[in-house]
């Protein structure tokens, strides 16, 4: 049993919404988590650098989902 194009697009949109909002929510909390970590200033700075890298990686997720949505929208298939 396959998934219709409409259903797939809905799932992709939902995933994009979740991804977009989740990054904002966790980024805010994780910057506070660094403060509460019980690490030295040096340790906190290292963590911040690591978290920034992760945030950028999460952006690539969104790029992939956007590309997938475009491909599905442009594609001729109706069942996946």
């Amino acid at each position: 049993m396959g998934t219709t194009k409409k259903e797939l697009l809905k799932m992709i949109n939902d995933a994009m919404l979740l991804e977009d909002r989740s990054i904002q929510i966790y980024q805010k909390h994780l910057s506070a988590a660094v403060f509460w970590s019980g690490l030295t200033q040096w340790g906190q700075e290292q963590l911040r650098i690591g978290l920034n890298v992760l945030a950028k990686e999460s952006g690539r997720h969104m790029d992939r989902l956007t590309a997938l949505r475009s491909r599905v929208e442009a594609g001729g298939k109706d069942v996946y």
């Binding site: 979740l18 909002r21 989740s22 929510i25 966790y26 805010k28 909390h29 910057s31 506070a32 988590a33 403060f35 509460w36 019980g38 690490l39 030295t40 040096w42 340790g43 290292q46």
Partner: protein
């Protein structure tokens, strides 16, 4: 220790840091020594007050001061016991990790009444992101306003969340949760406030503890604030939470006396049902329900890892409202706990009684602070002594107790690399709550709640300056006491000097009210 770990966990080198490290390494011994110093000071104070030859008025103020000090000493002793226990052998709680595909079902709930849509949606998104496979998400909407009801329905549709409502309103949050529990089919219940966001592995970490111990009624996790940079109030409130969850709760866990804090907690449904659900007669239903569960023979667990982040109060009115609610509710439950003691002394273990006594009386700190504050004022302005220790006894008993208590407290905070400024912000904000706590504890004892008059500036709440009159009065009295003390200093340098020091200390604390009540976010953050 690997080099990276060493760099991450060690502070800047220095001679005094080496002393501090030695102190931290021997914290168990020092907490014991401090406990002895606390007891010695208390005995000295009681003996001298009992046998000193003073007038009834002087003895009256002497008793007020002793009452304030006794409160501080009892809670300092409780803190030392916690520090001592925490440095002892750790007891590992049993865990059973459920097999993949056979995980018990969990109802993840947020109870909301007229909550901002953005905040609620963020929480629902973090629920959806929980890795745990067998979860059902519910929004318990208790809004009476049609607009908020529509928003809740829309969020439910958007995120595939079930919206639960009740027909008849009773018992605020406890009431709607009880109505929900009555019909729920899941084994466990994860409860969150509207502004608390769990991390994705929250349930994966917690459920194995509940599966591992059938007598475990709930697992409580800490509540840490993310908006600490918003204002000094947010920072101060965050620091208070850190002190509570990092030192006090871990100590309570050692005595099987951790109580539920209302959010970031997972309950075993049958345990809740067996005690009649949440206590709807209290505004701190979490604390009241914990007493019921413990006295029914259930256990609780404090899981000391931050798995949930949330938003704390960032304005003085928001903070005072939170403290007033918590204090009134806690005191009203404390009255019930006191009544339970003579009826069924075996309902709780001796250490659970002690822990509930400490938790239930904590908010009387407002009265204690007030009693400590008026003592130097009445001495300097009216010549009425209330502290009857001779200098040599003062130095031999008060100085060791006070300096050791401060050192132990600072050491426990320093272990987590909090700065003196951050710790002070939390302590000063807590002290400034004294008029609110005095009123709310009184009202709480009679089952009533406190009202506030609040204005807004730039979209943020603040108190009108007239509303801060208790601080103006106390600040004025302390300044007047210092001025009179300066004139009298050469006649009696020792007693006048000591009282001037305390009046200046209290004036300094009181003057911070203007900084905390500043609604200008940028100016406040700079301050």
């Amino acid at each position: 220790m690997p080099e990276l770990t060493k760099r991450l966990t060690e502070g800047v080198e220095g001679k005094w840091k080496a002393y501090l490290r030695f102190f931290i390494a021997k914290l168990r011994v020092f907490s014991l020594v401090t406990s002895v110093a606390i007891c010695l000071y208390f005995v000295a104070r009681v003996i001298i007050l009992s046998f000193s030859d003073y007038t009834p008025v002087e003895k009256f103020f002497g008793l007020l001061l002793l009452a304030g000090e006794t409160f501080m000493l009892a809670h300092a002793l409780g803190y030392m016991v916690n520090v001592f226990n925490l440095r002892g052998a750790e007891r590992a709680a049993p865990r059973i990790v459920p097999e993949k595909g056979a995980e018990p079902w969990v109802a993840v709930i947020v109870a909301a009444r007229h909550e901002p849509r953005d905040i609620l949606e963020s929480t629902l998104i973090t629920f959806r992101n929980l890795n745990y496979p067998h979860k059902n998400i519910y929004l318990l909407d208790d809004s009476s306003d049609r607009r908020f009801q529509e928003e809740a329905d829309e969020l439910g549709r958007l995120h595939g969340v079930t919206v639960f409502r009740r027909d008849a309103r009773h018992g605020a949050k406890a009431g709607i949760v009880n109505d929900f529990i009555a019909g729920m089919g899941e084994k466990y219940l994860a409860v969150f406030d509207a502004d608390q966001n769990p991390m994705p592995d929250f349930l994966d970490e917690i459920i194995p503890f509940l599966e591992g111990d059938p007598k475990l009624a709930f697992v409580q996790t800490p509540q840490f604030y993310s908006n600490i940079d918003d204002s000094p109030v947010a920072m101060g409130a965050g620091m208070q939470q850190a002190i509570f969850y990092e030192s006090i709760c871990e100590g309570k866990q050692q005595n099987d006396a951790m109580f539920c804090c209302g959010t970031n907690v997972v309950f075993r449904r049958p345990a809740l049902v067996s005690v009649g659900g949440f206590d709807e007669g209290s505004i701190t239903e979490d604390f009241a329900t914990s007493v019921k569960l413990h006295s029914a023979g259930f256990r609780s667990l404090y899981y000391p890892h931050v798995k949930v982040f949330g938003m704390g109060p960032d304005t003085l009115p928001a903070y005072f409202k939170q403290q007033a609610r918590w204090s009134a509710g806690t005191v009203s439950v404390f009255m019930k706990v006191l009544a339970l003691l003579p009826r069924s002394p075996g309902a709780l273990t001796p250490m659970q009684w002690v822990e509930y006594f400490l938790a239930g009386t904590y908010y009387f700190v407002g009265w204690a602070f007030f009693f400590l504050m008026i003592s130097p004022i009445v001495f300097l302005l009216f010549g009425i002594p209330s502290f009857f220790l001779r200098p040599e006894i003062y130095i031999a008993t008060f100085v060791p107790y006070f300096s050791l208590s401060l050192l132990v407290f600072y050491a426990t905070m320093h272990e987590r690399f909090y700065t003196v400024k951050q710790i002070a912000t939390g302590l000063i904000l807590g002290s400034l709550c004294f008029p609110v706590l005095m009123k709310s504890t009184l009202l709480g004892a009679f089952g009533r709640r406190m009202e506030f008059v609040i204005t807004t500036k730039g979209g943020r709440e603040r108190f009108d300056w007239k509303g801060l009159w208790p601080y103006g009065v106390m600040l004025g009295l302390n300044v007047a006491a210092i001025a009179v003390g300066a004139l009298r200093f050469r006649h009696a340098p020792y007693p006048v000097g000591v009282n001037m020091f305390w009046a200046a200390y209290h004036a300094l604390i009181l003057s911070n009210i203007f900084r905390f009540n500043n609604p200008d976010r940028e100016a406040a953050a700079r301050g």
